[in-house]
């Protein structure tokens, strides 16, 4: 069964960090440039995460993310370049269509921030098993029931896609058409969807019973097979990131005071 998680099994600087450190890294990368409020901040943060991706050898795995987002960033550039409310000075023109400098700068800001968050996020999910992260969260007090919900989604989806492909084959052999005109394709949606949905909803009853037999509802403190503690490297990283958030706040305050 194919896993749907994007985790890459490797050994790198980021793999060895605790999942909370990585989560805090994502938070830092979102907060620091936003607080500093400078376009260079976004660019620097994006470049830093990009560099980390290269160092960890994950660039190839992160490429699909990047390609996926190029269209949306391109759309932002075109739409804002043409229609941003503060547009005044023409930057360049393609035939009759004129692109404005203000709009392009605004789009650049959104685009850079977007890529910054994307790269930091890619670092987090490519190096962390979802199950480990859920377990770490449970150990500091996330409800085990909620933890189960998230962890089991990762098991159920591959299972359902498996059932799905069986049903697609079955329906095709009965003569269902999955190609052709829009209406033909739209008609195929129900015979594909309904059997999977029905069978998985009916299965929930059995799964609930199986869980209850194994003490899912027990009100006793749960124990864990693995415990992951914060290492010295984690603590150093957390300290540095906390420091950078504080200094970005200080930077903003100083800037504000000078402008005043």
């Amino acid at each position: 069964m194919k896993s749907i998680s994007l985790y890459v099994d490797k050994n790198s600087v980021f793999h060895n960090l605790h999942s909370f450190t990585k989560l805090f890294y994502l938070l830092t990368m979102i907060l620091v440039p936003a607080i500093a409020g400078n376009i260079w901040g976004f660019a620097a943060a994006a470049a830093f995460s990009f560099l980390m991706l290269i160092i960890c050898g994950l660039l190839k795995k992160a490429m699909p993310f990047l390609i996926f987002t190029i269209t949306i960033v391109l759309i932002i550039f075109i739409v804002q370049g043409l229609t941003y409310p503060g547009n005044e000075s023409v930057m360049f023109s393609l035939g009759k269509v004129e692109f404005y400098k203000e709009g392009i700068m605004y789009a650049l800001r959104i685009g850079l921030n977007f890529w910054n968050i994307l790269f930091a996020f890619a670092l987090l999910i490519l190096t962390t098993k979802p199950k480990d992260m859920v377990e770490d969260c449970e150990q500091i007090g996330l409800s085990p029931r909620f933890g189960y919900i998230i962890a089991s989604v990762f098991q159920i989806i591959p299972q359902m896609t498996g059932t799905m492909s069986t049903i697609t084959d079955a329906q095709r052999s009965r003569g269902m058409e999955t190609e052709g005109k829009l209406l033909t394709r739209a008609k195929a949606f129900i015979p594909l969807m309904a059997p999977v949905v029905m069978s998985s909803l009916i299965n929930t009853k059995e799964r609930a019973m199986a869980l209850e037999i194994r003490g899912f509802n027990a009100d006793i403190k749960k124990t864990y097979l693995y415990t992951r503690k914060l290492k010295t490297s984690d603590k150093v990283c957390l300290f540095l990131m906390g420091l950078s958030i504080l200094s970005s706040i200080a930077f903003r305050v100083v800037k504000w005071l000078i402008l005043k």
């Binding site: 989806i157 949606f189 029905m198 009853k205 869980l211």
Partner: protein
């Protein structure tokens, strides 16, 4: 009727229902993509969860769905829309508890309310994060056209979003309606909150 509106059971059956609903969301999106339909159809599961388990379960389904979707695809641009998913879950749940998912005609009313809620939540997100665009080429073409014609930012963004949501959410609710109708009583009764247990 009123006091049952937000009443939620948190038994094992409901906890197991949530991952399945999220799985259904994924499948809907997957099949729609496979059949090359120009729609998302990615909240059927949330709606089923909301009809069966109530508004709170619907909201949880919506929130966890977007969280997991972002983790598994790395599609960061869609995470702020978890607010929309929560809104859809809540709305469908409340409408279902008010008895608006029992007949086909009433389900269409629910669909209309869901479209209004989805557009009302998504449009501010579009404007704040993306300057008004939705990322769906067809809708964004309308947006650019309206902006060029001098229509206000919010109105143009609203049209962009409403155009896509209208068809998508109507179909979603109709599909949900038929699926829930077809479920055997033994399944639906596990989740209903209206029943009283009588001891012998």
């Amino acid at each position: 009727m009123k006091k049952n509106l937000f009443k939620t059971k948190f038994n094992t059956a409901v906890i197991v229902l949530i991952p399945v609903c999220i799985g259904i969301n994924f499948l809907g999106k997957f099949i729609a993509a496979q059949l090359k339909l120009p729609l998302w159809l990615d909240c059927i599961g949330t709606c089923i969860g909301a009809v069966l388990g109530g508004p709170v379960i619907g909201a949880i389904c919506g929130a966890v769905n977007n969280l997991v979707y972002t983790i598994t695809t790395g599609d960061v641009q869609s995470w702020p829309y978890f607010l929309t998913s929560i809104g859809i879950g809540l709305t469908v749940g409340i409408m279902a508890r008010l008895g608006n998912m029992e007949k086909f005609g009433k389900a269409l009313v629910t669909a209309f309310v869901v479209v209004v809620v989805a557009v009302a939540i998504s449009t501010p997100i579009n404007v704040i994060l993306w300057g008004g665009t939705t990322g769906v080429v067809f809708g964004d073409a309308v947006f650019t056209f309206l902006r060029e014609k001098g229509v206000g930012l919010w109105l143009a963004s609203l049209c962009d979003e409403a155009l896509i949501d209208l068809i998508d959410k109507f179909l979603t609710i109709v599909i949900t309606f038929f699926i829930v109708k077809a479920l055997p009583k033994t399944i639906t009764s596990v989740y209903s909150v209206g029943d009283e247990i009588k001891n012998l």
